[in-house]
């Protein structure tokens, strides 16, 4: 009996082996390299200069001296937060409606939501360029309707649209999957105990969907904070984001500073995620 149990435990550990190896080679080793590069100079001597440069480098923007990378970081954070908020406000009701639709319709709609994800990210971004340009599809449509054309391309709005479009499914899917599993009797119980529709949403559906909301937010916020390319194409390169900065340094063969920016971003995101998880747990424990 006892031996069997021990054998089982060994077998379990052995089964984890391939995954462990994979994680080591493709997650831990690269992370270690990022940290190693971040804290070394070109001759691979230890230095904190790269980290310090992120916080202290200045440049002149619109005639005023600013901290270059802190400004870029702030801009990335702002656009990412706006995109995440838009995704949440649009995605939450859609996820709810989706989870209450007839099962066959649910499958069709989920597929429709996922289809854009099968297309290449660059192609999707180019498609939005075609739509949003001053002479693009959107303005063509507005003109055909005798409405005033709008200037979107090259604004922060265009960057947000691009981010929302690219990351929207990542918001819907985790919220949808948790709502689809939710026991419908709980809603009936809440109504039975005196809640109107809004009360049911506020006191039962939302708190129970919180884990889905947290992972939706995480899955949208993190890629949109570190995105590049969208801002270059839809923002006409006017809104240099932290991802663009990393890419720029990397392309300029400035590997150590690129690693330092990536490292700082990672630490900030880890702290943010830990705080969010803590908030979710404290909510769940009430």
């Amino acid at each position: 009996m006892r031996e069997n149990k021990d054998n089982l435990a060994v077998a379990r550990r052995a089964a984890l082996g391939p995954y462990g190896l994979w994680a080591l080679l493709f997650i831990l080793v690269p992370l270690a390299f990022v940290a190693y590069y971040a804290f070394t100079d070109n001759d691979f001597h230890f230095t904190t200069a790269n980290i310090a440069r992120f916080f202290t480098a200045t440049s002149v923007v619109d005639g005023a001296v600013t901290h270059t990378y802190l400004l870029i970081f702030w801009r990335s954070l702002k656009l990412a937060l706006i995109s995440t908020l838009v995704c949440f406000l649009m995605g939450y009701p859609i996820a709810y409606i989706l989870s209450r639709a007839p099962l066959r319709l649910q499958k069709v709609l989920i597929t429709l939501i996922m289809i854009p994800m099968w297309m290449n990210f660059l192609i999707r971004t180019y498609a939005w360029m075609t739509i949003l340009q001053d002479t693009g599809i959107l303005n063509g449509l507005l003109r055909a309707l005798h409405l005033k054309p709008v200037h979107i391309i090259g604004t922060e709005g265009a960057v947000v649209i691009g981010m929302v479009y690219d990351y929207f499914p990542y918001m819907i899917l985790p919220i949808y999957s948790i709502m689809a599993k939710m026991d419908r009797k709980l809603e009936e119980a809440a109504r039975d105990l005196g809640c109107n529709s809004f009360g049911v949403l506020r006191r039962v559906i939302f708190p129970l969907s919180l884990p889905g909301v947290i992972s939706g937010i995480t899955m949208v916020l993190i890629p949109s904070i570190s995105t590049f390319y969208i801002s270059q194409k839809l923002g006409n390169g006017k809104f240099y984001l932290i991802g663009d900065a990393i890419e720029g340094q990397y392309v300029a063969n400035n590997l150590h500073f690129a690693a330092a920016i990536a490292f700082i971003l990672m630490v900030i995101l880890l702290i943010a995620m830990a705080l969010m998880q803590r908030y979710a747990n404290s909510k769940a424990a009430v």
């Binding site: 119980a189 109504r191 105990l193």
Partner: protein, 372 residues
């Protein structure tokens, strides 16, 4: 007694399938009323219409004389104990029970006092901070009852609340529910497919089948005076044979004339005759009004259940005397053990034990009405 709820000619269909067919029912103050019937008979739908989760296609629903069909569930003065309790997993025991009071924004002192009172009622004092997911089935059940009772509804609706509990716990909870009903004076409307549960707990039993009410009465009435073959078969075991009412107090069945206590049938009217298995006495073959051959014997602890072939019709008899398979025995039946029913659409469908099997019986009314 004051009438609290009145259903008047209520009908309801799902996807073209009639689930309730012209149901009329009065529910009175301080009564323990049970809706009893097999899966798909419409008992849960009736409950959900009273709660407000379903709208009747036709008919009216009155609450203290006022038509409440259009009233949403949260405005009705009834509360429900759900089949699998439907406790809120993100709230602890205290907050689950306090849920309706929080909605009314009751002051904290009042909430605390009332929740404590409810916890005492269901014997869960000290469980306030526990997570509902860590509770046993019986404890979750108690939380669900406390939560449903805390706003003192006029009527408590219970949807197969004991179905998920094991036998021993179920018996205890039956007693406890009965006590809670007496202590609070709240009307209970209880849904079950378990006839024993219905008989032991209720003041009034409503037997339903195929969306229609078959009989309403006290447990004793329902058992002793079933209205048709369905009720006779569903409530306990019954031998149901074809008979002819020769005149008042005399019936012919199985080729013999028997004195009985029923009157008021037409001369030579075709009837269904019900004889309960425990009302048949086994006597030596030559002294019996009926004679037959034993084809099966099952020992059930308190008694034996034997199947007897009488002229091709299999009877069930419960007896404490041992008889063996293939033995020839005589049966004697007292006049007051014979119950006469008018012929109905259910005649000939029940009451013959030729294909009898315990397991089959349990299989067919196990698992609850998930799709109802």
């Amino acid at each position: 007694m004051r009438k609290i709820i009145e259903l008047k000619n209520v009908s309801k269909s799902f996807d073209g399938q009639k689930v309730l067919d012209n149901v009329s029912l009065d529910i009175y103050d301080n009564e323990f009323l049970t809706l009893l019937g097999p899966s798909g008979c419409g008992k849960t739908t009736t409950l959900r219409i009273i709660a407000g989760f379903e709208q009747p296609d036709e008919g009216q629903l009155f609450f203290l004389g006022e038509d409440i069909v259009a009233l949403p569930p949260h405005k009705r003065n009834v509360n429900t104990v759900f089949q699998r309790y439907a406790l809120f997993p993100h709230l602890n025991v205290f907050e689950n029970i306090a849920f309706p009071l929080r909605e009314k924004k009751a002051p904290q002192d009042e909430v605390r006092g009332k929740v404590e009172e409810m916890l005492r009622l269901v014997a869960l004092t000290g469980f306030e901070k526990r997570s509902v997911t860590s509770l046993s089935g019986g404890q979750q059940q108690r939380v669900a009852i406390a939560r449903a009772l805390i706003s003192h509804p006029k009527v408590l609706l219970l949807d197969e609340p004991l179905a998920a509990l094991d036998l021993k716990l179920r018996k205890d909870m039956q007693q406890e529910l009965k006590n809670i009903q007496k202590a609070t004076g709240i009307t209970f409307v209880f849904v079950t497919h378990d006839q024993e549960e219905a008989l032991s707990m209720s003041d009034t039993v409503v037997v339903m089948s195929e969306g229609r009410i078959q009989q309403i009465g006290t447990p004793i009435d329902i058992y002793n005076e079933p209205k048709n073959a369905f009720v006779a078969d569903f409530i306990g075991e019954s031998n149901i044979v074809n008979g002819v009412m020769l005149r008042d107090r005399l019936v012919r069945f199985s080729g013999r004339d028997f004195p009985c206590v029923d009157e008021g049938f037409g001369k030579n009217e075709q009837v269904d005759v019900v004889i309960r298995p425990e009302d048949v006495d086994i006597v030596p073959e030559d002294r019996g009004a009926l004679r037959g051959t034993v084809t099966g014997v099952t020992f059930l602890g308190v008694h034996y259940e034997i199947i007897v072939d009488i002229a091709g019709f299999k009877w069930m008899i419960q007896t404490t005397d041992f008889v063996d398979v293939d033995e020839h025995i005589g049966l004697s039946i007292d006049p007051d053990a014979i119950h006469i029913m008018k012929k109905s659409e259910y005649s000939g469908m029940f009451g013959d034990y030729s294909s009898f099997s315990n397991e089959f019986d349990e299989l067919s009314d196990a698992e609850s009405e998930a799709d109802e």
